[in-house]
Assembly symmetry: C2
Homo-oligomer: 210 residues x 2
Amino acid sequence: MIRLYYAPGACSLAPHIALEEAGAAFEAVRLDFRQGEQRGEAYREINPKARVPALATDRGVLTECLAILAWIARTWPEARLAPLEDAWAMAQVHSFNSFLASSVHVAWAHISRPGRYADGEAAAEAMRAKAPEALGGFFDLIEGRLADGRPYVHGETYTISDPYLMVMTGWIRSRDMVPRARMERVLAHYELVRARPAVVRALEREAAPA
Amino acid sequence: MIRLYYAPGACSLAPHIALEEAGAAFEAVRLDFRQGEQRGEAYREINPKARVPALATDRGVLTECLAILAWIARTWPEARLAPLEDAWAMAQVHSFNSFLASSVHVAWAHISRPGRYADGEAAAEAMRAKAPEALGGFFDLIEGRLADGRPYVHGETYTISDPYLMVMTGWIRSRDMVPRARMERVLAHYELVRARPAVVRALEREAAPA
């Protein structure tokens, strides 16, 4: 049995959605970040990085959103979650997801978890002041991709980049970090993805009482 | 003709090495970061993110180290730069490379490019003070992977994770950011990779006068 370790609303929501899209049989294991469960000894044996997501299978543990998403797409090819046969198109999926992981998520983490990057309230304040500028630039690029009526990140077809972007858009939107007029297409993308049955199922599971 | 846009010693060195390992025909186009060439209009038309690497092919432009590395491995399968046939093993390659991109490189960027994350010298100082702690933890994890005489990141076989790690190790090593006794296997890995003919060729090209 596959087990996905997640925290509600964290980036682990993206592979959670992808497992639902794939119709995979899996167990979703919730970690309580408020209790610091991700730093506990039991979880560190699973993922020494003390982060989510982690996916446990009979071959071992896989970490990092991008890698778990790629593995799900390849393991359930009938779900058509990525252009598996086209090396160039697949590389564009990896590229976009890597940009989300190493630029967008990182900029957000300077607001949500400033202690990762510097100690002290003054530094936290300076990072919180800078992050909206970075996020604005990143979302301008994403807004540009969705131009010309392309509904999804990679065009006409839904891929593993779409739930991953939806999760990040949800974060930015929750704090009005980027002016809404500047990300109209991104917000329409959010609603389009948010309405998918697999997304609704994953969100309901994450919101259910522990 | 494939063109790789790079800056000497930047993370673009990893795909530069991979193209050499693959025996690819390519043109290496150097950007002068001291002149801010990556932010100039000409380069922004190629990569609006104003970063390196970017790979231009007849299908368009591909950005992000991880994605370019994966595409090279798949486009030149005879070079055996990744476990292409094994979805789980390939996902582990993506996982390690994503960790380098979004954790190791990001921690380093707080030292080398603090202005990305906060304005002001006090904040830069706070970030520079914190980064060695983060990098120490990351390199402890990597040192652990190389235990039991595994020469390469993924075991007995050289993959696209190895030049990518070598580049990061080179950065850390250049400033003695992590005590050397704590990363002995990582430093041995650096020397092993550094001696490969493809690596020597890429480094010589990057070091040549402009």
